[in-house]
C-alpha cells in the first residue's frame, strides 16, 4: 500500500449551543494517498464542512472545540501543531476552497491581490510577480478577460466567477492536498467539467490529493476514486466510487441514490426524498443515527451504535442490517 499522505483518526468536534453541546463531527476516520480523490457526501448539516475545517483547525473557538482524534499529514499531527505551523501549512501545503466564496473573499480587496497573496506569503514572491501570476491563474480557471479583471472586486463578479477566483487562490502554491468544499455548486455543467478536469489534472501532474465535498452524485461518479458517506456527524459507509453506486449497502446511501432527479426518468413524476427529519445533533439516539428514518431497522439498531465493518472487499459500512 502506498504511503498515506493523510490519516484522520477518530476526529471529533463539538459546538456549544443553547440546546447544549452538539457533536457535529463524531469519531470520523479516513486515509488518503497522494494523487487520490476522495469524495465526502452526505445530508445537509451532516458535518462535511466541519470535518474539513477541523482538519485545518479553522473551527471558531468558542463555540467550537476539537475534543479528540488526530489528523496526520505528511507524518505530522496537525492537531498538535502550533498556530504558526498551521499558518505555514494553510494555503501552502494544504489549500481549502470554501463553500461560500463571499465569506472567504475580502470584499474590499481586488481579485489580483487576493489570488496573489499566498505567493507573497509562502513563496516570497514580490507583488508585481504575484499580480502577474494571479492573472494567469484566473485565466486557468476560465475567468474571461482575466488580465483585465485582476482589478475587479468580488461584488463585480458573478457567483460562479467568485467561486473560481477561490479555486485560483487555492492553486497558487501548488498544494499537496486540496480540500474543495462544494467547489462547483455555482457553476454550470460545462464550466464545472472544465474546473474539475483542471483539479484532476493537477492531482495527476503534481500527485496532489483531493478531498471533494459535494452533494452532486454525478460529479462523484465522474471524478472520485473513493467515496465516504456521512450522516449525523458520523461516517456510515466508505467504498470505491464504482462499488458504492453498484452495491450501496447503508440504507441512507440507498435512499440518497434513489432521490436523484434523473434525466432518463419520465417527467411529471414526484421526486422521492428520504422520509423523516434529519437528526437533532443535540439529542442523538443511543444507537444508529439513521435508525428513526430507516425502513429496515431492527431492535439492536436503537440500542447500540454500529461500528464500521468491512462488508465487501474495501467496502465498509456502519449498519447491523444485512443488505441483501
Amino acid at each position: 500500500m502506498a504511503e498515506m499522505l493523510l490519516q484522520v483518526r477518530n476526529l471529533t468536534t463539538r459546538f456549544r449551543t443553547e440546546a447544549g453541546w452538539v457533536t457535529a463531527v463524531d469519531d470520523v476516520s479516513f486515509d488518503l494517498a497522494a494523487g487520490e480523490t476522495l469524495a465526502i457526501v452526505g445530508e445537509s448539516g451532516s458535518g462535511k464542512s466541519v470535518t474539513a475545517l477541523s482538519m485545518l483547525r479553522l473551527i471558531p473557538r468558542p463555540p467550537g472545540e476539537i475534543t479528540g482524534g488526530s489528523v496526520v499529514f505528511e507524518g505530522r499531527d496537525l492537531c498538535q501543531a502550533t498556530d504558526a505551523e498551521m499558518q505555514a501549512i494553510r494555503g501552502n501545503r494544504i489549500a481549502m476552497i470554501f463553500q461560500e466564496p463571499m465569506t472567504s473573499l475580502n470584499p474590499s480587496l481586488t481579485l489580483g491581490v487576493q489570488v496573489g497573496e499566498p505567493l507573497v506569503l509562502h513563496r516570497g514572491a514580490n507583488w508585481a510577480a504575484a499580480f502577474a501570476k494571479a492573472g494567469e491563474l484566473l485565466g486557468r480557471v476560465r475567468i474571461p478577460d482575466a488580465q483585465a479583471r485582476v482589478r475587479a472586486y468580488p461584488h463585480q463578479m458573478s457567483g460562479g466567477q467568485r467561486q473560481r477566483a477561490m479555486i485560483a487562490m487555492a492553486l497558487a502554491c501548488q498544494p499537496r492536498l486540496i480540500i474543495a468544499d462544494e467547489p462547483t455548486t455555482a457553476l454550470d455543467v460545462t464550466v464545472q467539467a472544465q474546473i474539475l478536469a483542471l483539479l484532476k489534472e493537477l492531482t495527476r501532474e503534481t500527485g496532489a490529493a483531493l478531498i471533494l465535498i459535494t452533494h452532486d452524485l454525478g460529479v462523484v461518479a465522474r471524478y472520485a476514486d473513493r467515496v465516504a458517506v456521512m450522516y449525523g456527524g458520523r461516517m456510515v459507509e466508505t467504498a470505491s466510487a464504482r462499488d458504492l453506486y453498484k452495491h450501496p449497502l447503508h440504507p441512507y446511501t440507498r435512499g440518497l441514490l434513489a432521490s436523484i432527479p434523473r434525466l432518463d426518468a419520465p417527467t411529471g413524476q414526484k421526486l422521492r426524498p428520504i422520509e423523516g427529519q434529519p437528526p437533532d445533533l443535540a439529542r442523538m439516539p443511543a444507537g444508529c443515527a439513521f435508525q428513526p428514518r430507516c425502513q429496515v431497522a431492527q431492535p439492536d439498531c436503537t440500542a447500540t451504535r454500529p461500528a464500521m465493518t468491512e462488508a465487501r472487499p474495501q467496502h465498509w459500512k456502519a449498519c447491523f442490517v444485512d443488505a441483501a
Binding site: 449551543t17 440546546a19 457526501v41 445530508e43 445537509s44 448539516g45 451532516s46 462535511k48 464542512s49 466541519v50 463555540p63 461560500e100 466564496p101 463571499m102 465569506t103 476560465r142 474571461p144 483585465a148 479583471r149 463585480q156 463578479m157 458573478s158 457567483g159 460562479g160 466567477q161 468544499d181 462544494e182 455548486t185 455555482a186 457553476l187 454550470d188 455543467v189 460545462t190 464550466v191 464545472q192 467539467a193 472544465q194 452533494h215 452532486d216 452524485l217 454525478g218 460529479v219 462523484v220 461518479a221 465522474r222 464504482r242 453506486y245 435512499g255 440518497l256 441514490l257 432521490s259 436523484i260 432527479p261 434525466l263 417527467t267 414526484k270 421526486l271 426524498p273 428520504i274 427529519q277
Partner: protein
C-alpha cells in the same frame, strides 16, 4: 393557457456595467455587457427555467427584474404595469409580489439577527401577520416546510451549515406569499434528498397558489424537472427558448447541444463509457464580446456568416432559436 396575459414580461433588457481606468482621472474605457437585449415572458403559475454558462448574465437578469439592479435599456412589465422606471413608493406593492432567493445565501442574511427575525422581517415591512406571536408561528411553519426544525428559529446564521442557510433564504422569500419567485440557484447547496423535498415544495406551492417561477439553475436535471419552458443564455443573450420536452429531446442551438451533452450522470460505469464532449476554446468576456454570433469562436459548426452577422431569435413554433445554421 397561451392566451393568459403574462405575469412578467421583459423586453429588450440590457444591463451594462461601466469599466473605468485611471487612478487620478477616472475615465470609462468600456462596459461589461452583462445582459444585452433579453426578452421573455412568464405566465401566472408557470415556471421558466433560465440556464447558461457561469457569468452569462442570469443573476443580473433576475436582479434587474426586481429593480435591484438598474436596467440600461428595455422594459419590465409586471402584471400589466410597466415598472422599469417606477419610484420606490410605486414599487412597494410589487416588491412583495416578487421575491428572490439569492445565489449567495450568506451575503443575503443578516448575521446579527436570529433566524426567526430574518424570516419575520419582510412580514413586518409589508404588514403581514398582526402580532409578534403570529409572525413567530409562521416563521416556525416555514422552517418546517423547508426541512429545518422549528426550534432552530432562535439560532443565528453562523450556526448553520451551507445548505441550512440556503433553506433559511427560501423560507424568508416564501414568507411574503409572492406571485413570482425568482430562484437563483435555490437548491445548489442541498444534498439530493433535501433538494427533492424543496423541489416538491416548490411544485406543491405552484399547484396550490399558482405561484410562478423564474428558475435559474445549472443543474439541468432539476431544471427539467421544474420547468415548463426553458431559456438558454449565452454571454448576455438568449440563444434558445423552448418547451421543456422539445429542448431536452432536440436542442437546436449548438450551445444548448453542448450544454446538454456535458451533464455528469450519477453512475460511474455509464460515465466511463461516455465520450466527454465539452465546450472548448477560450471563454470570451462580456467586456469585448465576439462579433456576429457570440458563440461562433467556440462553435463546432460556425460558418463565415456567423462571424459577420448577429443572428436574431427566430420563432420556429415550439422553439425559438438564434442561429444562422438552423
Amino acid at each position: 393557457m397561451p392566451h393568459d396575459p403574462p405575469l412578467l414580461s421583459v423586453e429588450g433588457l440590457k444591463v451594462h456595467f461601466p469599466v473605468h481606468a485611471g487612478v487620478i482621472r477616472r475615465r470609462q474605457v468600456g462596459a461589461v455587457k452583462a445582459v444585452d437585449g433579453v426578452s421573455f415572458t412568464v405566465r401566472p403559475g408557470e415556471t421558466l427555467g433560465l440556464v447558461g454558462e457561469s457569468g452569462c448574465g442570469k443573476s443580473t437578469t433576475g436582479l434587474a427584474v426586481l429593480r435591484m439592479q438598474a436596467a440600461s435599456a428595455g422594459r419590465i412589465v409586471f402584471d400589466g404595469t410597466d415598472i422599469t422606471h417606477s419610484s420606490r413608493a410605486a414599487l412597494r406593492p410589487f416588491r412583495r409580489r416578487m421575491q428572490m432567493i439569492y445565489q449567495d445565501p450568506f451575503g443575503a442574511l443578516d448575521p446579527r439577527m436570529t433566524v426567526a427575525d430574518i424570516i419575520a422581517e419582510p412580514m413586518i415591512v409589508h404588514n403581514i401577520g398582526t402580532s409578534r406571536a403570529e409572525r413567530r408561528d409562521r416563521a416556525q411553519d416555514l422552517l418546517a416546510m423547508v426541512g429545518l426544525r422549528p426550534d432552530m428559529a432562535t439560532r443565528y446564521v453562523h450556526e448553520f451549515s451551507g445548505g441550512q442557510r440556503q433553506r433559511i433564504g427560501i423560507a424568508r422569500a416564501l414568507s411574503m406569499q409572492p406571485d413570482l419567485l425568482i430562484c437563483d440557484e435555490p437548491v445548489s447547496a442541498l444534498d439530493v434528498s433535501i433538494q427533492a423535498q424543496i423541489v416538491n415544495l416548490f411544485e406543491s406551492l405552484q399547484d396550490r397558489f399558482g405561484l410562478a417561477y423564474l428558475f435559474i439553475a445549472h443543474d439541468l436535471a432539476v431544471v427539467r424537472h421544474m420547468s415548463d419552458r426553458i431559456a438558454v443564455m449565452y454571454l448576455g443573450k438568449i440563444v434558445e427558448i423552448a418547451g421543456r420536452d422539445a429542448l431536452y429531446a432536440r436542442p437546436l442551438h449548438p450551445y444548448s447541444q453542448a450544454l446538454l451533452a456535458s451533464i455528469a450522470i450519477p453512475d460511474p460505469e455509464l460515465e466511463a463509457s461516455r465520450p466527454q464532449i465539452s465546450v472548448t476554446g477560450e471563454v470570451p468576456g462580456a467586456l469585448n464580446p465576439p462579433s456576429g454570433c457570440r458563440f461562433h469562436p467556440r462553435c463546432p459548426r460556425a460558418a463565415a456568416v456567423c462571424a459577420r452577422e448577429e443572428p436574431v431569435l427566430r420563432d420556429l413554433g415550439e422553439q425559438a432559436v438564434a442561429c444562422h445554421l438552423v
